[in-house]
């Protein structure tokens, strides 16, 4: 029934396509959600998609294997730093505007 999927877990393409889909899902969330924290979460999804791709490369291309994990860890740390700042800013603006809905932050435009 699903025989065509046999060996999918040993396919780099599968990892990368899934990473791509994940990235797209994150993008969608970022473009479509109104809540600042939802957008933040979407970004986390996108960053994880990147990590998935990195790990995928590491798993299937021997030359990349030793570096993949390290890179993924560093990306993770960077994501954490970003999240820290982001959440702090969200909280700060919430204090000012009393709403987490980003599309209402349009005092400045044109």
């Amino acid at each position: 029934m699903l025989a065509f999927l046999d060996g999918i877990s040993r396919s780099l393409d599968a990892y990368l396509v899934i990473a791509g889909i994940m990235f797209a899902v994150g993008s969608f969330g970022f473009l479509a959600r109104r809540n600042a924290i939802s957008m933040l979460m979407s970004i986390e999804l996108m960053l994880n998609a990147v990590n998935l791709a990195i790990i995928g490369f590491g798993a299937f291309i021997p030359a990349l294997h030793p570096d993949a994990s390290v890179i993924a860890l560093i990306v993770m740390a960077a994501a954490a730093a970003e999240a820290t700042i982001g959440l702090a800013i969200v909280i700060a603006i919430f204090r000012n505007r009393k709403t987490p809905l980003v599309d209402e932050y349009d005092a400045m435009r044109q």
């Binding site: 990235f23 994150g26 970022f30 600042a36 957008m39 933040l40 970004i43 996108m46 960053l47 998609a49 990147v50 791709a53 990195i54 490369f57 291309i61 030359a63 990349l64 570096d67 890179i71 560093i74 990306v75 960077a78 730093a81 970003e82 700042i85 982001g86 702090a88 800013i89 969200v90 700060a92 603006i93 204090r95 000012n96 505007r97 980003v102 932050y105 005092a107 400045m108 435009r109």
Partner: protein, 492 residues
């Protein structure tokens, strides 16, 4: 990680230590600005000295010094850019205290965060490794988000910050995705390695679609950071919202930093594919300068107007970069020259705005500038100088920057010559909105009677530096030409 590595890394380490020291001083003597500022300027001076020293050893010895298994490089480009970053930081911090104190915002933390940001920019300029490059970028922009929202009780400031942050993170993710693709395809994070591999594959056309996709993601991410159209959306809002000294910094620090990134990434790592991405760069240059100028024409808020103008300046710089990619070394020299000139004149302009906005509640609308020549003649004259420089009127730094970039484009010929013509037409249109400010300062009567303010010595000192540099870089470009020439040779 040997002794050699540490010595080579010394400027970066020193920068971090300066930031830490500021925080420490603030912890010891909370809320007192003098010690914090003393540490800041002293520390930055030290950093500058270290930059020069490491740069000296790099230049006198070999063409470049690498450290950390080739992940970190000191060449003349590094030295030039680092000095520029340190100057930007010092000037920004000189302009900030007056403004911050009036709003009861701490000076020390501002300085510390700014120095962190600068350390990121310095890392970019010295990276020989894609991962370091990415981290440098993050280190540069994350404190930038904080700075944008530094006036946290102000709705505009936080709004600008969150827009900046959200979009910045989005673009970082995009950039990172592209980086992953390039790494996956080339198998190395070393810039030299990537260039080597690509140099080999570039001959065997067609290139793989994955590489194209990686280039697209990288280009998008970078275009965002330099605020190239159509990835510029954050710029006006973030610039307008930020506290004015921060706007000044944002408009030059991250911009020059991002151009450093472009040089390291596109010129060095992706250099072999220059023929491929240069088409895109040229299109970006054209759209960027045109849209930036056109929209700036209609702005009544000077900060926002300068934001759009900074977009336009990105376009001019891209012209230089495209000329380099088309085979003219002078393009890169022009870009660097332009970057330096732009940094000083734009910082100067924002410093004047910041000085005017010292009093809380003063907007950056054009009306604030009405009759400035009567209220504060010195500021009005300095502002005029900076605006003329931004317009590109000789003999100012801005003129020579444009001159250089356009020269390179003309040298390259073909479509770049067309781009050069487009650039000067844009410059002419830009004159309209820059001069509009002059109109208000000189030719309109003040709408409200605002008593003249006194400005701190630091502000005057900073303005003096910016002024002198703006004039010197325009009148006697010789020395700077040597420097950028050497820096550009580091890329080849």
């Amino acid at each position: 990680m040997g002794y050699e590595d540490i010595v080579t890394l010394a400027p970066f380490i020193a920068t971090i230590l300066v930031a830490a020291a500021i925080l420490f001083v603030d912890f010891v003597a909370p809320g007192r600005k003098v010690p914090a500022l003393a540490v800041t300027f002293g520390g930055l001076a030290l950093v500058a000295v270290l930059v020069v020293l490491t740069g000296q050893s790099a230049v006198t010895g070999r063409d470049e010094v690498t450290a950390f298994q080739g992940a970190y490089v000191v060449d003349r480009l590094t030295t030039f850019l680092d000095l520029l970053f340190v100057s930007i930081a010092a000037l920004t911090i000189a302009f900030a205290p007056d403004y911050l104190e009036e709003r009861e915002l701490p000076v020390a933390e501002f300085a510390a965060v700014l120095v962190f940001a600068i350390s990121g920019a310095m890392l970019i300029s010295a990276s020989a490794d894609l991962l370091v490059l990415f981290l440098g970028l993050e280190l540069m922009v994350l404190p930038g988000y904080v700075l944008a929202g530094y006036h946290k009780s102000d709705g505009y400031s936080t709004e600008g910050a969150i827009k900046y942050f959200l979009l910045g993170s989005f673009s970082s993710a995009i950039f990172l995705f592209g980086l992953a693709f390039v790494w996956g395809l080339t198998g190395t994070t070393s810039i030299a390695g990537v260039a080597g591999v690509l140099g080999q594959v570039a001959d065997g056309r067609p290139l793989s679609p994955g590489l194209g996709m990686g280039l697209a993601f990288l280009t998008t991410g970078v275009a965002f950071k330099i605020a190239a159209v159509p990835f510029h959306y954050w710029t006006p809002d973030a610039y307008q919202g930020s506290p004015t000294p921060v706007t000044g910094y944002l408009s030059v620090g991250p911009k020059v930093g991002a151009f450093a990134l472009i040089i390291r990434l596109f010129a060095e790592a992706l250099g072999p594919l220059a023929a491929d991405w240069n088409v895109v760069v040229m299109v970006l240059a054209a759209t960027t300068m045109t849209l930036g100028n056109l929209v700036a024409l209609t702005q009544d808020n000077v900060k926002r107007m300068l934001a759009y103008s900074s977009i336009a300046h990105t376009g001019y710089m891209l012209v230089g970069f495209a000329a380099w990619a088309a085979g003219q070394p002078s393009g890169l020299e022009g870009l660097l020259y332009y970057g330096a000139a732009y940094a000083f004149m734009n910082l100067g302009a924002f410093a004047v705005i910041a000085a005017l906005q010292k009093r809380l509640g003063v907007t950056s609308n054009l009306s604030t500038f009405a009759g400035l020549i009567r209220r504060e003649p010195a500021l009005a004259i300095l502002m005029t100088l900076f605006l003329l420089s931004l317009t590109g009127i000789p003999p100012t730094a801005g003129f020579f920057g444009k001159f250089y970039v356009i020269l390179a484009a003309v040298q390259a010929g073909g479509w770049l010559a067309v781009l050069a013509v487009l650039a000067v037409l844009n410059a002419a249109a830009a004159a309209f909105y820059y001069l509009r400010v002059v109109v208000y300062m000189f030719m309109r009567d003040p709408t409200t009677e605002i008593p003249s303010l006194t400005h701190g010595r630091l502000v005057w000192a900073g303005l003096a530096v910016a002024t002198v540099l703006t004039i010197v870089l325009g009148l006697f470009p010789g020395a700077m030409l040597e420097i950028v020439g050497g820096a550009a040779k580091a890329i080849g």
